[in-house]
Each structure stands twice: as C-alpha cells, then as structure tokens.
Symmetry: C4
Subunit: 191 residues, 4 copies
Amino acid sequence: MTTSRLEAFSAGVIAIIVTIMVLELRAPAQPTWPALLKVAPNLLSYGLSFLMVAIMWVNHHHLIHVAREATARLLWSNLNLLFWMSLVPFVTDFLGKNYRQPMAVALYGVDLALCGSSFFLLRAELARQASADTNLVEYHAAMQRKNLISAALYFLSVPLAYVSVYASFFIFALIPAMYFLPEKKLVGKEN
Amino acid sequence: MTTSRLEAFSAGVIAIIVTIMVLELRAPAQPTWPALLKVAPNLLSYGLSFLMVAIMWVNHHHLIHVAREATARLLWSNLNLLFWMSLVPFVTDFLGKNYRQPMAVALYGVDLALCGSSFFLLRAELARQASADTNLVEYHAAMQRKNLISAALYFLSVPLAYVSVYASFFIFALIPAMYFLPEKKLVGKEN
Amino acid sequence: MTTSRLEAFSAGVIAIIVTIMVLELRAPAQPTWPALLKVAPNLLSYGLSFLMVAIMWVNHHHLIHVAREATARLLWSNLNLLFWMSLVPFVTDFLGKNYRQPMAVALYGVDLALCGSSFFLLRAELARQASADTNLVEYHAAMQRKNLISAALYFLSVPLAYVSVYASFFIFALIPAMYFLPEKKLVGKEN
Amino acid sequence: MTTSRLEAFSAGVIAIIVTIMVLELRAPAQPTWPALLKVAPNLLSYGLSFLMVAIMWVNHHHLIHVAREATARLLWSNLNLLFWMSLVPFVTDFLGKNYRQPMAVALYGVDLALCGSSFFLLRAELARQASADTNLVEYHAAMQRKNLISAALYFLSVPLAYVSVYASFFIFALIPAMYFLPEKKLVGKEN
C-alpha cells in the first residue's frame, strides 16, 4: 500500500466521522426558540467535536505526509487511531444529552485521551522510520512532546469531571487553542 | 497541505452532507398517496437543500481552484464553512416538519446566512492571497459583491419569516436562480 | 470544473447512496429465523436497490468518461440525476415495508423512471458535445435507445403496480438483466 | 473503467461501511458506568466488525492492486463482495443486541462466510487474468488457500453457534489473528 492510498482512505473515514455526527442532532420538539435552547447543549457538543475532529484531520494529514513507507505497523497504528476517532460521534451524542453528568464528560475525555494516545503511537512508528534523518527525528521529538501534553491533559480530564465538569470542559477548550498556536515547521518537507 | 488535498476533503464532506439528508426522510405511515402528500413538505425541503448544497459545492470548487496556498487561515475559513454547511441537514429536517412555523423558516435562514458569510470570509482570504494579481483581484471583487448580496438576503429572510414564511421561501428560491445566471468567467484560470 | 472532479464527486455521492441504505434495515425484534424472515422483504428490496444503484454507477462512469467538457449544462444534468438517485434509499425503505402495496411499488417505479429520464437528459448533453465526432454520435444514439427503453419500462411499471405488483417487480428484475448483456463498445475511447 | 477507479469507489464504500456502524451504537439510557456496561456488547461487536472490515479493506487493496484489467467479471465480483460487506453493519447491530443468542451469532457468521466466499470468487477472476504470469499465478494460489481456510472457518462458525456461541466467537477472533501473521509478499508488484 502506498502512503497516499492510506491517506485517502483515512481522509474519507474522517470526512464521514465529522459529518455523520449531525445525524445525532434531533430537531426540537416544538418550533420555538426556548425549545431550541434545550437542544443547545447538543449543538455545542457537536460544535466542539467538529473542531476536535477537524484538528485531528489537519494533524493526521501532516503526520502521514512525512511517512516514508506504509508498513504493517503504520497501517495498524493508523487504523487504531481511526477506531477511537470513530467513537467520537458516540461520546458526543452522550455528552450532548448529559453534559452536566460527570460520567458523560469523563467518557468523552476517555475517548479523546485514547485518540491522543493513538496519535502518540502513530508518531512513534514514524519516528522509527525516520531514524536515519536527524532533521526529521528532531521534528518528531518536538511534535511528540506536544502530543504527550495533550494526551496527558485528556487523561486528566477524566477524574477531573468528578470534581467539576467545567474543569474538564476547560481542558477540552484549551487543547484546540494550543493547536492554533504556530508550530515548528519542517522546512522543505511540506509540499 | 496542498490545496488539492483540501479540495478533496471538502468535496468528500459536501458529498456526505448532500446525501445523508435523505436519511431524515421518513416513509409515510400508510402506503397511500394522501399519506405521501403529508410528507411532501419534507421532500420539498430536502429538494431545496439538495439544490442549495449543490450550488455551494459548485461555488466552493471554483473558489478553492483559484487558491494559491493552503495557509492555516484558508484551512480554517474552509472548515468554518463546512461546519455551517454540515448543519444544513439539521435545519432541513426541522423545516420539513414545521414549514409553516416562522421559527423553523428563520432557523433555516440563519444557517444559510452563516454559510453565505463563511463564503465571504473564505473569499476574503483568497483575495488577500491574490493581492499581486490585478486580474484575480478584480475577479474576487466581482464575485464578492454577489456573495455579499446573497448573504444579506439570507439574513433578511430571518426577520421576514415572522412577517410571512412565503416571503422567506421566495428568497430561498431567488438566490439559487441568481446563481444560474451566467457569471464573469476568469479566463485562462479554469482547467 | 474538470470532468474528473465531476466524476469523483459523483462517485462519492453514489458510494454513499449505495451504503447508507443499509441503515434503514432494522434488525428483527426477536433473534429467531422466523423473525428474520419477516424482515426478508426489506433485505430483498435493499439487495434490489444495491443492484440498481451499482448498475447506475457503472453506466454513469462510462457516460462521464466520454464527456468532453464540464459545461454548466452537464453539471446540472448530472446533479439532477444524483438527486433522483439519492431518493432511492427513501423509496427502498418504503418498498421494503409495503412490498405488496401497489402504491409503494409504484413510488419505487416513479423514482427509477426519473433516474432513467435523467440519464437520458445527461446523455443528450453528451451527444450535443460530441456533434462533430460521427463515431461518438453513433455510440450515443445506440446507448440512448437502450436508455429510452429502460426509462419507458420503468414508467410502465407505475400503472402496472395497480394491476399486479409482481408485474412491476418483473420489470425491475428485467432491466438489470438487460444491462448485463454485452454492449456496443466504443473502441479506443475506454482507458 | 480503470482498476484505479474501481479501487477508489470500493475504498469509498468500505470507508462508509466501517464508519456508519457507529450510528447503530445507542448511548446508555442512564449516565452511569453500570448502564454503559450494558451497552458494552454493542461496543465490543462494533470493535470486532471494525477490525474485520479493516482487514478486508487491506486485503481488498492488495487484491485490486494486482488486477490487470477492469473486466465486467471483475467489476461484478467486486460489487458482489461490497454487497456482503455492506451487510456487516446490519449483522453487527443484531449481534450487539443478542450476543448470547445462537441465531444472531450464526447470522454474523453467515455474512462473514459470504464475504469470504466473495473474496474467493474475486481472486479466482484475478488468477484467471494472471494466467500468463507464473509468478503471479503462484501468488494467487497461495493467497487463495488462506482465503479458502478462512471462508471455511466462517461457514463452520454458523452451526457451531448452536453448540456454543463462544466457539463461534473464538473463530471470529482467530481469523483476524491469522491475517496479522506475515504473508507471502509479491516481490516487485507492490508499489
């Protein structure tokens, strides 16, 4: 398998994940603005997940882009990531319906933490492939640090939900913000 | 990220949006033509949204086609547009069930107005990228005017729904018609 | 827009249509084979529609392949076809639940007839584009005849459903069979 | 039709199959961990099917990759495979709800057995195409043996479910494991 095939398939799966979430949104029972306000948590958790998956897509694209070879290890690290990402619509729906319940917030955090860990594994394989290229190894090490921080924060959001769900929501909002900050660019690799 | 990757991902998301809307259509309870007539508003609002999203797809394709570079700003302007487009199935379903209720018509108008505004932002970024090319700048300015009119009309449809939902429907029908008129072509850019 | 972009978008939409139909299938209430037998009509109508859409995909691919230029007329003939194809999951679900009711069978026939007519319009545009190429014009004329017959038969299936639904089912089965017969090949155009 | 078009369409369908399954997952009624435990069988059967379809995707990619020509026979063998694969979300949903019922386990086995048989037919067509190339014929023969074993095991899982559903589950787990073992590579064909 070429890495471009792998990337096209992944982009397809991610495009579907980001879009089908909207099917979980149920129109309000009454056509009034107060009734719409009641489904606002669902809309907001959809918006949050759209942002999360969009960021993952951007990162994933950059990640696969520097892959040298579509080894079996890369293939399965990638499918592992896609699996946890595919659960985002499920935990999003649950969160939207129970956004004040620690358990729903914690479950959302668990899935994001597993996505973050999967990114970590995927990049570890890429770093292994890049072992001969000092420039690339440094790039992966720098990105891996960022990856580690966000995965750790997502894991932290799980117990934190039982203290205050708003603390967990703060983490969910913080990490996307972190990804908007300018990154160490890999000069000459990006096309 | 290359603009072609960006375009492929967007086309994928738009293809899904336009197609999954059909899942919201519920078959009539009784297998009779009068029963089918009762779901006709759902079918009509599906048809309207199919047309709207199809036009957005065509415009989006032309837009991304003249992009020079997939900057972060372009990427996120585009994801912003896709987000509001992804809500079309939600507002369509709501409209189909409550097509005589001002609030449902207004909500549909709100989402289209936000899609129109997102197109405006996206093209603004493209115009910025094209700043050195007079021909392209003129093209963007001409298209931006059209964009501004349709976004303004969509925003107008929101309060208008409370006067008469049919006035809003007239706007929804008018704008697609406007897009069928021949456009200023960008000679030599289209491939 | 290039014809290859048009084709990729259409293939995406068709892939989604053919696949999401399975979401309409409801697992039997009881885990017993007799209970499964009760959902057999749904499974069969899904199978039939899968075949129908698969054939349309193959034909569509061949059709777009000989397109010279992605004119606005071609674009909108194509979107018209995709719209009627996108209703296949809706009429399939309805047919599966009411396969002995003339009205459900007739509605299924109506949608297929509209798909067939859309193919006719799409090919008419292609024939217009090919007007300078005698070989291609002949090819389109030959294919158009086949197209006309199947569209006519689908239209016939609508009133026929009120005589006997089995007569309509016979037509639904006949046309796919017709498409499996060897076709006039366009030598040297296929790649 | 080129084999690359065939592959892109198939990859699209498979990406949708693997992703829409998550829509069948219903969030637990109560936001508590014990309530989540009750939907664990659904999550597990989703995980199993994700793995199954992922393996089929990898195999399918390798398969189509060595295709010489997109003959009608290849096209329809492939659509036959996609049809049975498209039923995976249906049988997965049924399995998740009735994982201790022999009938649900048997039905899951039936669909996997039919997928396995379809792979067999698809590869038979490829072997036929490769008849002049000894190296390729040997490769297909070796792969076909593996294919035959897994299809046979899947068929075996059907009656076995009536003895013990766990015996069938053992088979479902065994075959993916088998596909993780290193394979006979086709030197110089893979790109």
